[in-house]
């Protein structure tokens, strides 16, 4: 074996090992969460765990339905706020703005993506929460405040992926639409947007994953009360904040039930990822045609 050949082999192994590390990590994290969490689910009972409306570890009540609903509501709220703004920004960037504005806006969006989540939470705490309190009362820590903050946090994901997918729509589609006497807006909404819809959908699913997993910002603005919210102004606790808030002092079944909360969160994220993978596959097939 020549020296260069030997080096080649070594390099290859090095890359393989690096790749293996992330695979091993994913599997061991999964395994760990399930080993720590499943016994608690067994002891509490799956039904009373995920459908129980009362979370009072002191009383031995471990129902995480409020947190499941909290996570779902907050995520849906974030989408209602973030998706239109994000998609419209992407349309503006890919179809309307001139190059200078695009370069500037892209940098701003990248900056937005780089802001630590605790800063978003702090920002929400000193601006959005007081505003909501002033207008609607009730303290301001709420489902609405959480949705707004998360809606802002998912913007970079939606904007950058949606913009890329709209830019990848062949120029010929747009010209074809214009040549038929379409207005610019018609060509965007009736041809470009539908052609880019799978990429836009993928960006929304990724954003969902980010929203449901967000913790720190949510803790600061949500109020964290483990009760099922009945309005957008109610305090709310999500699956992630449930774990983060109580893990520090929990022990025994209480601690295990927090790991079990993690199992449920994990299942949610797996579902979202599954949808994402199914979609990217569909997109791939459509592009191959």
């Amino acid at each position: 074996m020549t020296k260069s050949n030997w080096q080649e082999k070594l390099n290859e192994k090095l890359f393989l090992i690096s790749a293996l590390i992330s695979i091993i990590l994913v599997f061991s994290i999964t395994l760990f969460i399930f080993i720590k969490g499943v016994p608690a689910i067994k002891e509490i009972g799956l039904k009373s765990f995920i459908l129980g409306a009362k979370w009072k570890p002191g009383n031995g009540q471990y129902g995480i339905l409020p947190m499941i609903l909290g996570s779902i509501y907050v995520t849906i709220g974030a989408c209602i706020i973030g998706v239109p703004i994000g998609v419209f920004t992407a349309i503006y960037l890919s179809e309307m703005a001139n190059k200078k504005v695009v370069d500037f806006l892209r940098k701003v969006v990248e900056l937005l993506a780089g802001i630590p989540s605790v800063v978003f939470g702090f920002f929400g705490l000193v601006t959005i929460v007081p505003i909501i309190d002033k207008i609607f009362g009730g303290g301001g820590n709420s489902l609405l405040a959480s949705s707004i903050i998360l809606g802002i946090m998912i913007l970079p994901t939606i904007i950058s992926i949606s913009e890329a997918s709209m830019r990848s729509v062949p120029k010929e589609y747009k010209e074809g639409a214009l040549a038929l006497g379409s207005t610019h807006l018609d060509s965007i909404f009736k041809v470009i947007l539908p052609s880019a819809s799978s990429g836009i959908f993928a960006s929304i699913v990724l954003a969902l994953g980010r929203a449901i997993g967000e913790t720190m910002a949510i803790i600061l603005v949500s109020g964290n009360t483990p009760l099922i919210p009945h309005s957008a102004f109610d305090r709310v606790r999500t699956l992630t904040s449930n774990i983060a808030i109580e893990m520090g002092y929990a022990y025994g079944l209480h601690q295990e039930s927090l790991f079990a909360t993690g199992v449920i969160l994990f299942v949610f994220i797996m579902l979202i990822n599954g949808v994402f993978i199914a979609f990217s596959r569909k997109v791939g097939e459509a592009n191959d045609r």
């Binding site: 074809g176 639409a177 214009l178 379409s182 041809v191």
Partner: protein, 250 residues
């Protein structure tokens, strides 16, 4: 012979580069005019001036007058109205990624036609005029991308016809197609002149000779010769035209 479009002293610039230099030409109603010339001579730019598709490109400038049915298309008409009257078929078939039906109905829909039976009628009529109806009538709801290249191009022609234009611009419409699909499209184009004025850019001398009534030869941004196709191919006045059509350069 009535002039449908009259181009008077047209200059066209990309930035500082003069792409077209004082072009004077008329296109006659119910006739097919072929624009020929080597790559880069400005014939495609010229075509895209006629439906103002160059408006979408930044840094271009158009000087001179282009008059369609008595109205100046740059000074007295907005691009939407113009493009309704002047349809275009592109080099590469570009059906939208939607159903065959929706492709043809796209134009009428953006121009405000909503009634289902009216749309059905337009779609059927347009597909028939494009010689495509019999091949697709049973699968109008299938994706347009499932059609063959030649069928896609005929679909694009049907899509253009559905808007009921007066003029149809074609930018090398058969260059991406095989000979059989090409001859179908050529047959189709020759029937179109009964109702439309057709202007077609082509790189194929044979195609220009086969289907066009008039031929215009462009070279380096100038219109060298514009005559009945017969004369251009049998007895060109300009030596450069003769050299080009006999394959001396290009």
């Amino acid at each position: 012979m009535n002039s449908k479009i009259i181009v008077d002293n047209l200059n066209f610039y990309y930035g500082n580069m003069k792409v077209l230099n004082s072009i004077d030409i008329s296109f006659y109603e119910n006739s097919i005019t072929a624009l020929i010339g080597p790559s880069g001579c400005g014939k495609t730019s010229f075509l895209r001036i006629l439906n103002r598709l160059n408006d979408t490109v930044s840094n271009v400038k158009v000087e001179g007058n282009i008059v369609l049915d008595g109205t100046d298309i740059y000074k007295d008409m907005d691009p939407i109205t113009l493009r309704k009257k002047v349809g275009m078929v592109f080099q590469k078939p570009n059906p939208f990624p939607m159903s065959i039906y929706d492709n043809v109905a796209y134009g009428p829909r953006v121009h405000g036609i909503k009634k289902k039976n009216e749309l059905n009628e337009i779609v059927e009529r347009s597909l028939k005029s494009a010689f495509l109806w019999d091949e697709v009538k049973d699968r109008l709801n299938k994706s347009a991308l499932s059609l063959s290249g030649g069928q896609q191009q005929r679909l694009c022609i049907a899509r253009a016809l559905a808007v009921e234009p007066k003029v149809i611009l074609m930018d090398e419409p058969t260059s991406a197609l095989d000979p059989i699909a090409t001859s179908k499209i050529e047959d189709l184009i020759t029937t179109l002149k009964e109702n439309y004025t057709v202007i077609i850019v082509t790189h194929s001398m044979q195609q220009a000779a086969r289907i066009s009534d008039y031929t215009a030869f462009f070279l380096l941004g100038k219109l060298v010769e514009h005559e009945k196709t017969k004369y251009i191919f049998e007895s060109p006045r300009d030596k450069r035209t003769k050299d080009y059509i006999t394959g001396m350069f290009g």
